[in-house]
Amino acid sequence: MGSREKCSVAGVEAIGPYTLLRVRRGRLEPGVPGQFFMLEAPGRLLPRPMSLSLAPPGELAFLIDAIGPGTRALCTLEPGDRISIFGPLGNGYRLDVERPLLVGGGIGIAPLAYVSEALDGPPAILGFRTADHAEAAVLLPGAQVVIDPILVTDAIPAGHDVLACGPEPMLEEVARLEPAAQLAWEAPMACGYGACYGCAVEIDGEIKRLCVEGPVLRAEAVAA
């Protein structure tokens, strides 16, 4: 299990409609790509789970979509503000794959930037709702970008080891196309370390906690 530390905000940058929050990491380890951290959301009772997007020297960076009160609080932080961060948590991607292909949809590209860095820039296909959202593709230089109504799942070439993150319908389609893919899922969670049982999902036919078993799972494990 990860450790918990008060971290000071190093920078807050808009990337299209998203926000890249950078904090000084102190003694926190960045962990494996695909792992996540629980971020204190100022003024809110519960922390918010965020996968790590980048690990610049001495920092942790999180790509955040302000969709609710917690993420809005995180996106309005200012340099010098301090928040508690707990992690890294969960299980990330296995990186020992022969022909990696990163597949991301919307805010789901968040963990893929760190994967791309770790794998030295493998091919990537990213899908977005609008050209504005697609500005976030800057985090994965060289990635192929498609914009709605074209879907990433229309553009996946055969013969790759797919590492994906995105909205559920996208992941379900990736799982159908590539049963060996590694998929990063999302679920509401209060704690991130197995205490609250809020993030239960069906894994290998049993209800399990996504924070403990995942968030990255083999596609077959969640196939309906």
Binding site: M1, R4, M38, E40, R44, L45, L46, P47, G68, P69, G70, S84, F86, A187, P188, M189, A190, C191, Y193, G194, A195, C196, Y197, G198, C199, A200, V201, E206, I207, V212
Partner: protein, 296 residues
């Protein structure tokens, strides 16, 4: 004073170091048969609290005794087993299963889960069934969502409970900000966190006055000051719940803060604070009541 976790707010097997920072670990409620729990979404944050509708997800008593309990015992922390049933006999059967196990320090009777449909009828009957099946210390966990929680507590005492766990969550509802649909799949869920604290304090205060029983106080405790208030209201132990989700280091922090609160109060030892919020100390009341019941 002992510091515990509220049942269902910590998995000692995935977070053993946090469990070891407690004086006793209270398990998630165990039922006769395995339960997968309710469909997701199961949690929702609300103003000053959260709702959960986990639905007593647990492996069932057989798997718990053979699989979980031996691993929990290795932690070296006293284990309180929370049990729940769907009819009175379930509680007797579950207590019977646990009675011979030396690794079980106490049994908490969850007679108040808001997230299951079948709630057993009488707390008194349940406690009596449990009492008949075990010599272990029995703590009965009550809901504050009742007209008179003190009356229920008295019924539990008459039936032989050794103590009370106060309180369980109460039902609340949260709607999605865009769709106005319930945010939990089960619609309503149990409210916990700071919003529950005044309700819990009132229950502790009333049940202490009415029964004088040892009370594990819980409901929105997130600081040493909160813990102190529960003790003053009549709790002899306190349990941390929702705060563990946002601050896994809360047990150590609350202890430190509590020591500071005592120092500031100028009181030597927390035992001297128990029931301080009452004009009349409840143990006297309880003794007088017992004397009256014997002489009548």
């Amino acid at each position: 004073m002992k510091l515990l976790n509220a049942s269902g707010c910590l998995d000692a097997l995935t977070a053993p170091e946090i469990a070891r920072s407690l004086d006793a670990f209270v398990t998630k409620t165990v039922t006769p048969l395995p339960r997968e729990g309710n469909a997701p979404p199961r949690i929702a944050e609300v103003e000053d609290g959260m709702l959960n509708s986990i639905g007593l997800a647990n492996p069932g008593i057989d798997c718990f005794v053979s699989n979980s309990l031996p691993r929990l015992t290795e932690l070296g922390v006293p284990i309180w087993v929370s049990i729940g049933g769907f009819e009175v006999a379930d509680y007797g059967d579950l207590c019977d299963r646990l009675d011979d196990l030396p690794e079980v320090a106490a049994i908490e009777l969850n007679v108040s889960c808001p997230n299951v449909d079948d709630v057993p009828a009488s707390v008194g009957e349940i406690v009596a069934a449990a009492r008949g099946a075990t010599r272990k210390p029995l703590y009965t966990k009550l809901s504050p969502a009742t007209a008179d929680v003190a009356e229920v507590a008295q019924a539990a005492r008459r039936a032989g409970t050794d103590g009370l766990s106060l309180v369980n969550t109460i039902l609340g509802l949260a709607l999605d900000e865009r769709t106005l649909q319930p945010r939990l799949s089960r619609s309503a869920g149990g409210l916990s966190g700071p919003a529950l604290k005044p309700i819990a304090l009132a229950a502790v205060h009333a049940c202490y006055a009415a029964t004088g029983l040892p009370i594990v106080g819980m409901g929105g405790i997130s600081s040493g000051r909160d813990a102190l208030e529960f003790v003053a209201a009549g709790a002899s132990c306190v349990a941390l719940g929702t705060i563990l989700f946002s601050d896994p280091g809360a047990p150590a922090r609350v202890r430190t803060e509590l020591a500071g609160e005592l120092e500031q109060l100028g009181v030597d030892g927390l035992d001297n604070v128990i029931g301080l919020a009452h004009a009349e100390p409840a143990p006297h009341l309880a003794r007088a009541e017992r004397a009256a019941s014997v002489s009548s």
